[in-house]
């Protein structure tokens, strides 16, 4: 099992979910984060003084999947989160971590069956 963490542009969430559902992946956890990447932040100005706010709003999406789902999940994320064909700086990253165990609190089930 893997835990997939995707950092995406906030407005891409809907598309991302659409893509994921089409690949039968519809369990996920989302949170708001600030990201610092290659993308330049917008310079903010407060009372005439410039602030380089180089941290940008992103969404962090966590998806736990079974190994056989990893490939299609990655594809779906890229499809859903990329801006246009070519993509834009700031579209984000995907991190794949090994997941040793997964437990469904409700039933106590473990492993692959608990993930879904």
């Amino acid at each position: 099992m893997k835990l997939i963490i995707a950092i995406i542009q906030p407005h891409k969430l809907e598309e991302l979910k659409k893509e994921l559902y089409e690949t039968q992946v519809n369990l996920l956890t989302v949170s708001e984060v600030l990201g610092h990447g290659r993308q330049m932040g917008v310079t903010e100005v407060y009372r005439g003084v410039k602030e380089t706010g180089n941290l940008l709003r992103k969404l962090r999406v966590e998806i736990a999947v079974n190994d056989n789902f990893v490939e299609q999940t990655l594809k779906a994320i890229i499809k859903g989160a990329r801006s246009g064909q070519t993509g834009e700086i700031g579209d984000g990253k995907i991190f794949v971590l090994p997941l040793e165990e997964c437990v469904r609190i409700r039933t106590g089930e473990k492993g692959g069956t608990a993930i879904g």
């Binding site: 542009q9 407005h11 809907e14 708001e32 600030l34 917008v42 310079t43 903010e44 100005v45 407060y46 706010g53 941290l55 709003r57």
Partner: protein, 441 residues
């Protein structure tokens, strides 16, 4: 580029000194009697109406997404600034000086001759400038109502130009027709106590036009985006309800029985409409919402505006109960079907509400309430209803055409809509380079 600025300021200075002079003429004119109670009432009312625009800013600001709230607040505040100046410079003159059938002349340019003595034609017991500044607050909030239609996607610069043009070429003339001495709609006998046609229909129709021509927000799927901060919207509604007492009761221009009647009908209609909307939601969606209730209350305030000084509390209840029915249908059922994006329902609430209010005035108006008013259809005078119908039709038609022309003009010159990228990032950062809330501290 500071030089530019300096020059500009210098010219202004010269120009304004002349302005300063202008007050001379009038301040030693003969002085009719000022009533302190009426003056106190109109001044405080003016203050309350001024507060409505920040109220509206929060009413709207709470509904948009987090990335766009400052844009809404900014549009409201800059309107307070720009139109306050437009009004004292030439707006008041265009609207209320005699001038011609279409609008006033510039005889009151820069408040020339508009002094501290009463101007009985408009209000016999308060200083002329009190009437002027009270009217100023109406000229401010009216264009502000429109911004709900093109929320979250209009370029600030284009917005600013559009609003100034609109105030000048739409608001001022229509105000002139309806409220100025010898305005032809007034002469025709049309009743509009505090601005059903001049303010709400006028702005509501402009809202519809702009919403249609600017197009839908990116990713808009006929559903309102969840308001980012509903408490702000409720706060705004509270301030609006409060300020509306100044708006309607203040329009009596004196602290008299008429003002009291307007005050009572205003509160009653708002209450009836708020309740009515809640009930409709209960029947239609299973649960009443605060968002719906405050929307209904505002719709009720809109609908009673033209009628407040002509109808009694009973009629106010009917007007209130029904306005929510009409607006609810428009906002909750028709709009999603048609699929245009009047983002915050400026037309759905102010347009529809204003139309119903203006017509309802033609139904429920009664000389028992206001002997200087008229009887409506239900008091045996169908003619009044026709008159109201005509006034409504004319306001709609005029606002529709001219708002469209002005929009196209501004679009041609500046381009009205922000780039798709900016829309995605949000107006706060792209139009104003500031963020409303810190996410991480």
């Amino acid at each position: 580029m500071f030089k530019k600025k300096k020059g500009l300021l210098f010219i202004l200075l010269l120009f304004l000194m002349s302005f300063s002079g202008t007050v001379f003429a009038q301040t030693n004119a003969p002085v009719p009697k000022i009533d302190s109670g009426d003056t106190a009432f109109v001044l405080i009312s003016a203050g309350m109406v001024l507060l409505m625009t920040p109220g509206l800013a929060f009413f709207y600001g709470g509904m948009v997404r987090r990335k766009n709230i400052l844009g809404m607040l900014m549009q409201c505040f800059i309107i307070m600034c720009v139109l306050s100046l437009q009004w004292v410079l030439y707006g008041y003159s265009l609207s209320f000086s005699s001038g011609n059938g279409f609008w006033g002349d510039l005889s009151w340019f820069a408040l020339k001759g508009v002094g501290l003595d009463p101007y009985p034609t408009y209000a016999a017991t308060i200083p002329h400038q009190a009437f002027m500044i009270f009217q100023a607050m109406f000229a401010i909030i009216t264009p502000a109502l429109i911004i709900g239609a093109f929320a979250e996607r209009m370029k600030f610069s284009a917005f600013l130009i559009f609003i100034i043009l609109w105030a000048t070429f739409v608001y001022d003339p229509v105000a002139h027709w309806m409220w100025s001495d010898g305005g032809w709609l007034k002469k025709m006998g049309a009743l509009d106590f505090a601005g059903g046609t001049v303010v709400h229909i006028n702005a509501g129709v402009a809202a519809l036009v702009t919403a249609l021509v600017i197009g839908r927000r990116k990713g808009y799927d006929n559903k309102p985006t969840p308001p980012h901060n509903l408490p702000f919207t409720v706060l705004g509604a509270g301030l609006l309800w409060f300020g509306w007492f100044g708006f309607n009761a203040g329009s009596a221009l004196a602290a008299n029985g008429l003002a009291v009647n307007a005050f009572v009908t205003t509160n009653t209609a708002a209450a009836a409409a708020g309740l009515s909307w809640a009930i409709l939601e209960w029947l239609h969606n299973g649960k009443p919402t605060i968002f719906g209730t405050v929307t209904g209350a505002v719709a009720g305030l809109v609908a009673i505006t033209p009628a407040a000084g002509f109808v009694n509390a009973g009629s106010a209840i009917i007007i209130g109960l029904l306005v929510s029915v009409f607006c609810f249908l428009m906002v909750g059922i028709v709009k999603p079907k048609l699929g245009y994006d009047d983002s915050l329902d400026a037309f759905g609430v102010h347009g529809i509400g204003g139309i119903w209010g203006a017509l309802a005035t033609g139904l429920f108006a009664s000389k028992l309430v206001n002997k200087d008013g008229a009887n409506g259809l239900f008091y045996g005078n169908p003619h009044q209803f026709i008159v109201q119908l005509i006034a409504v039709a004319i306001t709609i038609g005029y606002s529709l055409v001219v708002s469209y022309i002005l929009y196209k003009l501004v679009d041609a010159v500046f381009g009205v809509r922000v780039s798709e990228k900016d829309e995605v990032i949000g107006l706060d950062l792209t139009q104003h380079r500031e963020g409303a809330y810190t996410l991480v501290e």
